[in-house]
Amino acid sequence: MYRYDEFDAEFVHSRVAQFRDQVVRRLDGRLSEAEFRPLRLMNGLYLQLHAYMLRVAVPYGTLRSDQLRMLAHLADKYDKGYGHVTTRQNMQFNWPVLSDVPEMLTDLASVDMHAIQTSGNCIRNVTCDPYAGAAADEIEDPRPMAELIRQWSMLHPEFAFLPRKFKIAVTASSQDRAMIKGHDIGIQVVRNEAGEVGYHIIVGGGLGRTPVIGQTLRAFLPKDDLLPYLEATMRVYNRFGRRDNKYKARIKILVRETGIEDFTRLVEDEFAALDPSDIAVGAAERARIATYFASPAFETGIKPLDMASQPEVFRKWVDTNVVAHAAPGYAIVNISLKDPERAPGDVTTEQMRAVADLADAHSFGELRFTHQQNIVLAHVRQDALRAVWDGLVAADLEDANINLIGDIICCPGMDFCALATARSIPVAQAIAERFEDHDRQQAIGEMQIKISGCINACGHHHVGHIGILGLEKAGVEFYQVTLGGDATQTAAIGDKMGAGFSQEELVDGIERIVDFYVGAREHDERFLDTYRRLGTEAFKEVLYASA
């Protein structure tokens, strides 16, 4: 895990001191709201529909157990006893009071945390494969690269006022769990034909009002060139990205309007013209950063659990929530934050502390927030799985639904978000309740339902196998459906169905689609496979068939 050096620590502390003073000046009126607003946003503090919201950065989604305990402390002391894991691997608090925020930031700084890069038209907190450093199919841990990008981007003055926000996601696996094709820039660690490790750079992806799948900017970039190449890309975006219309300001629009060939040429020309020695980070510095992410001391000779002697409910949880690890004898544990009665991604302080304890006892004191709004313990001995599960049961965190229909991604929607057009949380709850039976979920198989409360698509509905967008007309909420979206390496934007539904009709319609799929699938086809085989019309007909 990355530890702040003295410069990082000094910077974050000075930033907190500045903000403390800014809050004092806001409260006594020396700063107007217009002057203060950009300052609070630079520190992750939004004014939402009912209250302030503080978004805390969790760089590349990785955090230490003491950091999770600190988040629990903040939620208990300054908020309402819970936090919300976001689709960008951060944590939000829904009810902070302005005058407490400097204290919250001070507490965060004491564990190397902050709320920088969680708002504004800057390069946002970099997101990452939550199985980084543990995945069996990984070339190398992508987090040192993500950390390098964090260091380069956090204070870069040229990129503090971009045309629009800018999101980067990284992975080192061929199985894309970071949605790299749905980001402004996606980076995949790859090997070229000569066996060298470098980066595949994807550009111009994004969801929101204009969903676009990213395209290859450079199929193989040598490691030394990473920062100069990103810098060249950002310069092109900064220069040519539109600033006259915020709906056309993201890099995806620039890439689309320029064409990928011409855009690539612009970047390559810029890259050729800049002096990389000012920017490039050599192998020695990369190796230094990588030491922070060195694999923990895995033990050998671990015997797998005798599953036959374990209770069925535990075995089901293992089948669903536990994934193969690169190291023999270890496993990756997914902790679901998708209790059907809760808002997806919400976690209470008791649960946070329980997870922190489990991370200390069984996963080298480290854990991850996922963009699917769950938590991962990345390095668990297989013979400790039962102990972990017992701990999760005690904390009411044993839902066995990872990647199943109950594992719904859902933004806060109208219940909390100032930009929302409709609620999303109650829709997620209604669907989760309808499909609550574990065996039914298991029988349906892999299924990603994603719900957004407005066109901004924070709930990634465009890339849901079933995507749901909440809208409102004349005071009534309704929900539009897309089908066939895909957030992985085979990324696709879902196909829009027709007219929207009320919440009740929607849940019935989804059930019809799911039942149709289960009846029509061949062999072990996933929902997506059957959808692709049978085509949109077949599913559309079922969706709109009256019950």
């Binding site: 806001r26 409260l27 006594d28 009126g29 709201e33 004014l47 939402q48 529909l49 009912h50 209250a51 302030y52 309402k80 006893g81 819970y82 829904n94 009810w95 902070p96 009071v97 302005l98 005058s99 009665e341 809760r342 808002a343 919400d346 209470t348 109208m414 219940d415 909390f416 929302a420 057009t421 609620r423 949380i425 109650p426 709850q429 409102e472 005071g475 009534v476 909420e477």
Partner: protein
């Protein structure tokens, strides 16, 4: 102050967020602020509306509230869905489950 969000049709109410807590408030009949929409002053009287505007501006200057704006109302309820929603807060909050347990 933004008054763009209302069409100026029907009785008007004035809303804002408290500076310190961020919570939603509405201007009351005694030209103060309340967190309860039931206390809100609704009026079509242009003179009163002007007065509300002045007081809201002054409250922003005095740093008690931020982002004050008028909303349209119909049958004593905010006309826009979003504004209706603001009057009763989230329909779901994990905080409620915690306080129940």
């Amino acid at each position: 102050m933004s008054t763009l969000k209302h069409k100026g049709k029907g009785p008007q109410a004035m809303t804002a967020n408290e500076l310190v807590s961020g919570l939603s408030v509405w201007m009351t009949t005694d030209l103060n602020w309340s967190r309860d929409y039931a206390d809100a002053l609704l009026t079509e009287d242009e003179t009163v509306i002007e007065k509300m505007d002045e007081i809201a501006k002054a409250a922003e200057q005095a740093n008690t509230v931020v982002g004050a704006y008028f909303i349209d109302t119909v049958d004593a309820k905010p006309a826009r869905y979003r504004e209706r929603f603001r009057t009763h807060g989230p329909s779901y909050d994990t905080a409620d489950l915690i306080s129940e347990s």
